[in-house]
């Protein structure tokens, strides 16, 4: 179904759809977290720790971070393509952003699995 639109055959649709799908994942996660906070009302470190510790919650949070970084990568890429006309400068800036996002992903995974 939608999966084939995320392949090389659809280079434009792939980027556009990835941005929308990652936005949907983030929106669902935010609703989920707000609901959990309303239900459990964690007021101290132990309560927060208990909330964040289950494996399923860590996995879901990890999926959220992956979506966030995909979304950010696509958004920044669009901005660079629109406003940075020097191709060398654009490539360097994109590499910086790519490296930063990978570091953020590793960092967030590290935090998640050390709770």
């Amino acid at each position: 179904m939608l999966i084939q639109l995320l392949t090389n055959k659809y280079p434009g649709m792939r980027l556009w759809l990835s941005q929308r799908l990652s936005a949907i994942v983030m929106a669902i996660y935010i609703v989920l977290v707000v609901m959990l906070l309303i239900i459990f009302r964690p007021a101290n470190f132990n309560a927060w720790h208990a909330l964040m510790s289950p494996i399923w919650f860590r996995l879901v949070t990890f999926v959220f971070f992956v979506s966030l970084f995909i979304h950010a990568w696509l958004g920044v890429k669009d901005v660079f393509e629109d406003y940075i006309f020097n191709l060398k400068l654009r490539a360097y800036l994109q590499i910086i952003v790519d490296v930063l996002l990978v570091v953020y992903l590793i960092w967030s995974s590290f935090i998640l699995w050390n709770i």
């Binding site: 179904m1 084939q4 659809y10 434009g12 649709m13 980027l15 556009w16 629109d82 406003y83």
Partner: protein, 249 residues
């Protein structure tokens, strides 16, 4: 009754001017002058060096599109009474200026031509005409009325940044007009033609095109529809693929 109106108009003659400048005018109108184009014609009576395009003077030909107080529009259907003074007139942004308010629309029409804005149907032509049901014909409403004035495309920042890559709202409206046409047989090719990351997907939905269209059309909705059609066809393909073995049984 004499009514005087102030203007500030972009002037540029590449043969004599090193760079563009704004020229002020104060012009007396006659009772029958209601539209911006009427006032421009009065100005031309005093200063015939001012260049602009005009033809039908009733919002049909799209010749006199220009930037009016910062917003693209047609001079012939813009009421003088709706405009703040001094009325600032500039050529449409994003296209090379030939002279004064006249822009070179070559890129605009190249983009328009790139979507093959004509019916593609390989069946032998019938004796009279290719018929459509009223429901199919209704799908073209809001798409076929475009007069190609260029107001939408030249108001679009994505076109300013990528004029040779992004088709622009006017071209995409026409692409959708033929994608939606029940008589057209080239839907797949048309969708493929818009598949690279720039031609269609550079639209960031800021809707300048919708705001400025003098015919009150909605290119943004047309662009969204093309994406919807693409997704719907991908789903159909999947269903068709699934159904093949069942049929072969």
């Amino acid at each position: 009754m004499v009514n005087q109106i102030k203007f500030s108009i972009y002037r540029y003659n590449p043969d004599t001017d090193k760079k563009p400048y704004m020229q002020d005018y104060a012009i007396s109108l006659r009772d029958e002058d209601h539209m911006l184009l009427d006032a421009l014609i009065r100005i031309k009576e005093h200063d015939e060096t001012l260049s602009m395009r005009k033809s039908c003077r009733e919002g049909v030909c799209g010749s006199d599109a220009m930037n009016i107080n910062g917003k693209n529009g047609l001079a012939c259907i813009t009421k003088l009474s709706d405009l703040e003074q001094p009325i600032v007139l500039r050529p449409m942004p994003g296209l090379p200026v030939i002279r004064d308010l006249v822009v070179d629309m070559t890129q605009f029409f190249e983009n328009y031509n790139s979507v093959k804005p004509y019916l593609i149907n390989n069946d032998p032509p019938p004796e009279t005409e290719r018929l459509q049901s009223p429901a199919d014909r209704a799908k073209l409403d809001g798409l076929y009325e475009c007069i190609l004035c260029g107001a939408c495309t030249t108001a679009c920042p994505s076109f300013w940044w990528h004029p040779d890559k992004f088709v622009g709202p006017a071209g995409l409206l026409q692409a959708n007009r033929f994608i939606m046409d029940s008589r057209d047989q080239a839907t797949e090719e048309r969708l493929e033609n818009l598949e690279d990351p720039y031609r269609l997907y550079r639209c960031h939905n800021i809707m300048n095109c919708v705001e400025v269209c003098p015919k009150k059309l909605n290119p943004n909705a047309a662009i969204a529809n093309i994406k919807d059609v693409k997704i719907a066809r991908a789903r159909e393909t999947k269903i068709a693929k699934k159904s093949i073995p069942i049929k072969s049984l």
